[in-house]
Subunit: 497 residues, 2 copies
């Protein structure tokens, strides 16, 4: 048991005991003190060593297992299976962006900090507690009982026809839009949608416009096709039209990538006027728009109007993600492709991975058909509406006048701006020490240069932690402003200023 | 019921009655006589109309449902959901190749014929009857009970660590190979493996070598990167080394794509000497090899040696598919990437679809860990060994001396050659009229020019149908040879000679 001496439990901490044990063991694994294949001590031995209830150790081991650090072998015990952390986006308690960014020089930024995070405002993924696991289980079993082995065959590449039917009904009911059956391509998540559109329509050197800031996964996909990416400033009511028209006059793009509703990372939405203007410009300058609809279901005021709803001239490729709000592990989304471009897109999908899982498509079909999706989204909307109000209230209460922030109409992001000259990358470091994580704004720009802005997400944090978390964040900001030079000198491996 | 008058049942036919009803209804749907949203007559009404047992109609409706033509609504009945057939690979009772090919001008080739196929020697997919559905169901429920919502979270991009562990053990036990943990990238099927390697390592105009004939999905993936593809002749014991060296002297490739074991479409394997020589050439000319291991588990003589086993100088990217023999609907495979190239590959994977389903990865992990995979493969090997022997025996019995064919050591393909000047594309048409489907050889070459060779797969056909099917095929061949000019004039939309 000697190895475990280094784990010091603090009963007065806000972090539950099981999590403290979990954190301690993860540290030992990460530092190579416990190695792959090694057996962990039995529950009771561990419990008496730490002087805690057995259930606490059970929970710690369980958490280690679901995070993939250990495996339990029946009748034998619990064994470590070491997970190299370098490619693990979940480890940070943050979001999918991190992996992509960690490949661009920021690996060290997120190291050895995850476990000290008490207030996670970084992650864009919804906490697993909100997943409708029992409904999913019921549906999965129903599919297997109904279709047997056929549920697990190769699926036709464009998608499982009944799911397309369900999607048509869903789009009609939710958005009043009639999606032609033949224009639906099922895909393995929104990222794949961006990737196959890039594959189908971009050649080396083609120009793509993105919002600035924007979702870095999109930048990666376009970059991998050798595209020349141009950033257009994002404002609170959508794209900066002056900036856009100036750039259009020089080099119009082939594709324009946008999240017009509750944008990632700002949370901002386009005004009706800007939506109309964007469509008009696409027609005039002959480019196509990729509308990435990641969370339009999470509206707290009025139901948002999709850009696609205004698309009279087939200029918009619409991507609807089901993973964001639902079950990321299912990897399902759909693409609405104007008919003229369907075959090209379908071939790009086919050569990417043949098809998305037919099994999941059948499960998703039942989910939509039985009204479980609507039920789930309504429940989430209620929960997130509450969190949104709490976050806003906490910002009003705790932020000083110098800190600017918006109030989005939906989604789970706020965008905050530090006073000029104070960079969110530095705030990131200070906040971490206070147990708070945020996503520094530079990560959402091509250049990744330090910026004042940063993203505050309430996707993961629990309702009751919000106020405390924002307070801690505010303290961190005050600390930054009071000691602006103290943190600029970081260790060499840190991409500070 | 008037619409159903056109369906004529033939009780003396080899096609079961339920399938005749199914076929008839599919025809009505395809021809637009029954349309989407229309309700099918109740079971009993249908049964009395056709003068068959209710169970027959139930089976027909069930089959329509699993094929996605209809959906049953609880308490309401069975409704048509029209499936545009054009992108449906399953409709032909054939394989994944068809979709990709159907995008290249052969759409019409496969139309309106699927339902007359009694002897399917075209499909490369294993029949769903062989899938271990109950084991899969047990494992899926175990995962959900064990991990709850965590099973459905975003998965780290490189894969679920315990699955990597299981793969390491599997590769050790099966092939005596030690795969480093850090060199495993989980992917969504073998096609994605090819695609992300193309993405990571090819630039526009780069040269890729493929075997001729080869798997067309690979050609698509390379082509989508703008690669210049060069074909190297395939012989019975592997690549034609003279052809290879001649081409290497001119323009060495960046990548060489191969299936060294039980190749698709020929079923041939490389000799040890050719494997060694290929590795040596890769080292000398500095190119990388993609080894696509699609069915090396299905050996009927000695266990095959992987090319990767000879790879002392990290020249081989190894792709192992689990979908081919197992559950295509799960879309799981893994890539063994030499360490030096891992980050680049991982980024290509990430920008393609973030990660493969963590849920399926957990299920696959349990499958491997509990020995269910080994059990399944051993069972399949026995079944397929029997089918392999039956196919070979039938070829010996029914084929005339003019028809050449090989005897592969494993897998589920034979490669047959018609006498010089007789093209398999024409045989395809004649065979179909006899209820037999094959894959004409031209589909596996870049040029798609007519060839004498064709692929005979026994993946789908049942053991007891093999002899009859080969006999019918032999009759078709005789017909072709006796009337070589009769079929060259096809309808305009057919890509005949």
């Amino acid at each position: 048991m000697d190895k475990f001496v280094s784990i010091q439990l603090d009963p007065s901490s806000e972090i539950p005991l099981y999590l403290q044990i979990y954190n301690g063991i993860v540290d030992l694994i990460e530092e190579g003190i416990i190695v792959r294949g090694e057996k962990l001590p039995p529950i009771r031995k561990m419990a008496s060593f730490f002087k805690v209830n057995s259930v606490t150790v059970v929970n710690a081991y369980k958490h280690l297992e679901v995070q993939g650090y250990v495996e339990s072998r029946v009748g034998s015990g619990t064994y470590v299976c070491y997970s190299s952390k370098k490619n693990n986006p979940d480890e940070f308690g943050t979001s999918e962006e991190v992996f992509s960014l960690s490949h661009r020089g920021h690996k060290s930024m997120f190291r050895d900090t995850a476990r000290s995070i008490k207030f996670d405002f970084a992650s864009a993924s919804i906490a697993p507690d909100y997943f409708p696991v029992q409904d999913f289980k019921d549906v999965v079993n129903e599919v297997l009982d109904r279709d047997g082995g056929y549920a697990l065959e190769y699926q036709e590449s464009s998608g499982y026809p009944p799911l397309k039917e369900s999607i048509m009904e869903f789009m009609k009911a939710q958005h009043g839009l009639s999606v032609p059956f033949e224009e639906i391509q099922i895909i393995s998540g929104a990222q794949q949608g961006i990737d196959i559109l890039a594959k189908a329509f971009l050649n080396y050197g083609d120009v793509v416009y993105v919002e600035a800031p924007t979702y870095p996964g999109a930048i990666n996909a376009f970059r991998s096709r050798g595209a020349h990416i141009v950033e257009i400033n994002m404002e609170e009511d959508g794209i900066d039209l002056n900036d856009l028209e100036k750039k259009l006059a020089k080099t119009p793009p082939k594709l324009f990538y946008t999240m017009p509703v509750f944008q990632n990372p700002t949370g901002n939405s386009y005004s009706l006027k800007k939506k109309q203007e964007l469509i008009a410009l696409a027609t005039r300058h002959d480019f196509y728009i990729i509308e990435d609809d990641h969370v339009s279901d999470l509206y707290y005021r009025q139901k948002p109007l999709l850009l696609k709803a205004l698309d009279d001239s087939d200029k918009v490729f619409y991507i609807k993600s089901y993973s964001k709000l639902f079950l990321p592990g299912m990897r399902l989304a759909f693409l609405w492709v104007p008919k003229f471009h369907f075959d090209k897109t379908a071939l790009a999908k086919y050569s990417s991975d043949i098809s998305s899982s037919g099994f999941f498509q059948r499960a998703m079909d039942l989910f939509l058909r039985k009204g479980l999706w609507t039920k789930h989204v309504m429940r989430l909307r209620k929960i997130f509406n509450d969190k949104w109000q709490k976050t806003h209230k906490a910002l009003v209460n705790h932020m000083t006048k110098e800190i600017k922030y918006n109030l989005p109409d939906g989604g789970h992001f706020f965008w905050l701006e530090l006073p000029k000259g104070y960079y969110s990358m530095n705030l990131y470091d200070i906040a971490l020490k206070n147990g708070v994580s945020i996503m520094p704004g530079n990560l959402f720009f091509m250049s990744q240069k330090p910026t004042e802005g940063f993203r505050l997400s309430f996707a993961q944090i629990s309702s009751q932690d919000i106020d405390r978390g924002i307070q801690k964040l505010s303290e961190s900001i005050n600390h930054l402003i009071e000691n602006p030079y103290a943190i600029i000198q970081g260790p060499d491996d840190r991409p500070l200023l």
